[in-house]
């Protein structure tokens, strides 16, 4: 049964997909994005969150380096509230190859990336936790970027121009007639309902899953999922991004985000993009390398370990893994395979997601006789929250939380939340002290059409994502969840399962690092939930 229709259907709710949706919408093309789970659940939120200056690619891939520095400048402007303009350092410690420095400096110069040499004293003054074995340090315009928030702001912007999106909607078949895509069949993963969506062009932006989507149309697309493992620490180890100045390798990037630091990344080719398991060996490998830059690394508490799959595109006969290109490809299946109305985009990196969308849509738009120019670099993603609104909000909840909530919510929703806080004093309850999330915000986000479960709300609000890792808010969110989702959920859930599922989701990231201070935290979690709350239920067995 045909239930929906769009000129272009984009498959995949990662940075690539949302970037394309925004670009198409701004060009006036009717587009619908579908995502099989919640938005941004793949590599776009499962990476180190580095806004590349391009310096990391300066030696091996200068085209990528140039693209990075240009996009870096653009994203700082259009996505201000998603970027922490930290700057970055490239450092060498004793034992690193001094011969790598000159070609790197030359590469940066040729690519238009500014570098500034720092004396050892200055570098250590700026970043006191750096190893005393530091030899050289350079400053570059790296930054930190919140991939999750930036993706949602792209969706918000796209919606402003008429773009639509559906979560938990999975493509399960491509209907072809006369060598052209006519429609796709999808399944609603919440209601399990299956239906058809008619379209003129199908865009495969499924990242590491792109091969699987291509298969549905009987095509081959050689994507090699490359797993990257990352470690999140409970504090800012440095105030700047810190890179190891050497040939890119595992465990040589530290990125500060808010109150935490992320260390990454490994690169392991895996058969299945769903494989985000991590082992002691991977963690140890990252820690060992990381210790070279920050000697006291093992004394910091690890919050969790996580992994994501990069969608590396491997042309036939080429090499995968660390040496595969970080560039991207646009595949027009009409030209390549004789199938009209289907295009695939593959590879790339978060920093250049906007440029990828621009180049891709420059190929797509003419097929629809659309000659509009790309405008995604000209306009900010979302309007800024006015200071007056923030000032008004400070009367109702902790001042520290106001900025966090304003950037999470954006002008419109923030205004509504502040109004609720003013009118309903009970809604001022802070459910999550780590991230300063109020009941009013939870309720507002729960009313969104994309919120199907408390887990969806958690991702949007950051409830339970902070340093207590859910210890204190699992019970609170379970208590409100049932009220908020009782009518919405297809399957009924109960508060104990909610609590357990919430903590289980965090547990997955904790198990590979169950040593040091993490052990202490785990004993506390179990002491509270398994013992004091007896969440497994009383009269068992």
């Amino acid at each position: 049964m045909v239930k929906d229709k769009a000129t272009v259907v984009v498959v995949g709710g990662g940075a690539t997909g949302v970037g394309i949706l925004r670009d198409l919408s701004m060009r006036g093309i009717d587009a619908l994005l579908i995502e099989k789970l919640d938005m941004v659940n793949g590599a776009s939120s499962r990476y180190h969150g580095l806004l590349h200056s391009g310096a990391r690619y300066a030696v091996r891939d200068q085209e990528a380096a140039r693209e990075c520095i240009e996009e870096n400048t653009i994203l700082r402007r259009i996505g201000k509230s998603c970027v922490e303009a930290t700057t970055g350092m490239f450092v060498q410690v004793e034992g690193d190859d001094p011969d790598f420095v000159d070609p790197w400096l030359q590469g940066c110069k040729d690519s238009g990336i500014s570098t500034r040499e720092l004396s050892k004293e200055e570098a250590l003054r700026l970043e006191p936790n750096l190893s005393r074995k530091l030899k050289v340090a350079y400053e570059v315009p790296d930054g930190a970027i919140d991939g999750f928030r930036m993706s949602w702001q792209n969706l918000q912007s796209a919606a402003h121009y008429g773009g639509r999106y559906k979560t938990y909607t999975e493509i399960i078949a491509v209907n072809v007639e006369n060598a052209a895509v006519k429609s796709i069949k999808v399944r609603d993963n919440v209601t399990k309902e299956e239906y058809e969506i008619e379209c003129e062009i199908l865009v495969n932006a499924a990242g590491p899953w792109a091969g699987k989507v291509a298969e549905l149309a009987g095509l081959e697309c050689n994507v090699s999922p490359s797993k990257g493992t990352l470690i999140a620490f409970n504090q800012r180890i440095s105030n700047r991004v810190v890179n190891r100045l050497r040939k890119p390798s595992n465990g040589d990037i530290f990125v500060p985000h808010g109150s935490i630091t992320i260390l990454g990344t490994s690169s392991i080719t895996v058969p299945d993009p769903e494989d985000t398991t991590t082992s002691w060996e991977e963690v140890e490998d990252l820690m060992k390398t990381g210790e070279g830059v920050f000697e006291r690394l093992r004394d910091y508490r690890i919050l969790r370990v996580f992994a994501g799959s990069r969608p590396l595109y491997v042309p036939k006969g080429a090499e995968g893994g660390r040496n595969a290109s970080r560039g991207f490809v646009t595949i027009d299946h009409e030209k390549e395979d004789g199938l009209k109305g289907m295009m695939t985009i593959c590879g790339g990196k978060f920093t250049t997601y906007r440029l990828m969308a621009e180049k891709f849509c420059d190929v797509l738009a003419p097929k629809l006789n659309n000659t509009a120019k790309c405008r995604t670099a000209e306009e900010n993603l979302v309007p800024e929250v006015p200071e007056a609104d923030k000032k008004a909000a400070r009367q109702y909840f902790p001042a520290y939380g106001v900025n966090l909530a304003a950037t999470r919510l954006g002008v419109e929703k923030f205004g509504e939340v502040v109004k609720t806080l003013k009118e309903e004093p009970e809604s001022r309850e802070v459910l999550c002290e780590c991230e300063n999330v109020t009941m009013a915000e939870i309720k507002r986000i729960a009313s969104e059409p994309t919120s199907h479960s408390v887990a969806d709300v958690r991702r949007r609000t950051r409830l339970g994502m902070g340093t207590c890792q859910g210890n204190y808010c699992a019970i609170r969110s379970a208590a409100v969840a049932n009220k908020l989702f009782k009518d919405k959920l297809a399957e009924s859930s109960d508060s104990l399962s909610d609590m357990k599922n919430f903590l289980q989701a965090r547990w997955k990231g904790i198990t590979p690092v169950m040593a040091g201070k993490t052990l202490r935290e785990a004993e506390m979690t179990r002491g509270m939930y398994e013992l004091l709350f007896n969440v497994n239920g009383g009269r068992r067995g």
Binding site: D494, W507, A515, L519, L532
Partner: protein, 413 residues
């Protein structure tokens, strides 16, 4: 500092009980304490054994202990000491005016702050859930501004435990305290004040009646006695049940106050806010421990030492990296199954014990640490409570039971 007969290191349930029992043997006792121990996180009830190895509820703790594995601390402590320890505890708290109900022969139940039932062995009368089992109507009382006690959630889960044939109603009272979120301790202080009690009673009185039971958070006074509880039961004329809940645990602190009061009466010297850092060892005997903190380290000499510094949570045992265990005072041998496939269950709440939770000091039946061949390492050092290996207290619900009974045995040795 003059020499003691016994130095006890640690001030959780295990440490305080070890000090009390030692003093009863006529010994001169010094207790090295740090902070409030784990009491703010402690339910303040004595779980002996709630669930067996298969996760099945244990109806009779004594029989359950008989079925534990050979390396379980209870097997090393032995049944006579377990029974004597339970009697000793009951007498101690009763003498302090805070008698506990329950016995080793029959499991007791309490209601948690999420509305589940939890098995335990000994508990204050105000927490005894059985009083509401026969009620027709359960009234759940919440408090405005009190986090972590959600009346609807308690009703939802309690109905699953006690049956949906009962009527469940909820009511929320106002403390008239504004401007901040409240903890159970704040509310308990309000309820034990004359004015607060009057305001509280006025708001719930019309809910009471025959055949009803009133469920409240842990708010019936901060002190280890039944003054507020008894008054409320009399004024309402029906059953009243307190729940356990989110830290800071009011009942944990009540138990701590009661045990500290008993300690004081026995003339036990308590050194506050010190961390035992190292031991002075002569051959296989410890002659003293050095303990410091914010003040200069001092040496505490004794003939006998009882280690009650806890596990990973309290920092008595650490593991900086996989397999690198350390017992922090004496460097005693720690055993644990630190193998990647087994160290952590992939499921947080599973039907299996967690290997990491069972890591601890290996001891023999005298509760002294032994090496891999079974030889005692330090002949005058006894190990108690969560310092011990071989049990997962969260899975079994056995924490305070092992703490109490091991402390009793070590003190008697």
């Amino acid at each position: 500092m003059s020499k003691s007969d016994v130095v006890v290191i640690g001030n959780g349930v295990a440490g305080l009980m070890a000090a009390l029992v030692s003093a009863d043997q006529g010994k001169k006792v010094t207790l090295l304490s740090y902070g409030a121990g784990t009491f703010p996180l402690n339910s303040g009830v004595i779980d002996v054994l709630g669930y067996d190895d298969a996760g099945k509820a244990v109806a009779n703790p004594i029989e359950g202990i008989g079925r534990t594995a050979d390396n379980h601390p209870y097997k090393k402590i032995g049944m006579p000491a377990v029974q004597d320890a339970v009697e000793y505890f009951k007498k101690t708290v009763a003498d302090e005016g805070f008698p506990y109900v329950g016995s080793l022969k029959e499991q007791q139940w309490l209601i948690t702050s999420v509305g589940t039932l939890k098995p335990t062995c000994l508990l204050p009368e105000s927490l005894q859930a059985s009083k509401c089992f026969d009620a027709n109507e359960i009234v759940i009382v919440g408090v405005k501004g009190l986090k972590d006690f959600y009346v609807d959630m308690v009703a939802e889960n309690l109905a699953k435990e006690l049956g949906s044939d009962k009527k469940y109603t909820t009511v929320t009272v106002d403390t008239y305290i504004t401007g901040r979120d409240l903890t159970t301790r704040d509310v308990a202080r309000w309820v034990e004040s004359d004015k607060g009690y009057g305001e509280f009673l006025a708001q719930i009185k019309n809910q009471a009646g025959s055949g009803k039971a009133i469920i409240v958070p842990q708010i019936l006074g901060t002190k280890g006695n039944y003054v507020v509880y008894n008054k409320l039961v009399k004024d309402l004329g029906c059953a009243v049940v307190e729940t356990t809940g989110m830290p800071p645990s009011v009942n944990g602190i009540r138990l701590r106050d009661v045990l500290l009061s008993a300690l004081k009466k026995k003339g036990i010297r308590v050194i506050e806010n010190v961390i035992a850092e190292k031991a002075v060892v002569k051959g296989d005997t410890v002659t003293a421990v050095e303990a410091g903190g914010e003040v200069r380290a001092q040496t505490y000499e004794a003939d006998k030492f009882i280690l009650a510094t806890g596990g990973f949570y309290s920092g008595g045992i650490t593991m900086r990296d996989f397999g690198e265990y350390k017992e922090m005072v004496f460097g005693l041998p720690v055993e644990g199954d630190c193998v990647e496939e087994r160290w952590v269950n992939k499921q947080l709440f599973s039907d299996k014990k967690q290997a990491f939770a069972m890591a601890g000091v290996r001891v023999d039946s005298s509760l002294r640490a032994v090496d891999e061949s079974g030889n005692v390492v330090l002949k005058n050092v006894y190990v108690v409570g969560r310092n011990l290996s071989g049990y997962d207290f969260c899975f079994e619900h056995s924490g305070n039971g092992v703490a109490l009974t091991s402390a009793y045995k070590a003190a008697k040795a």
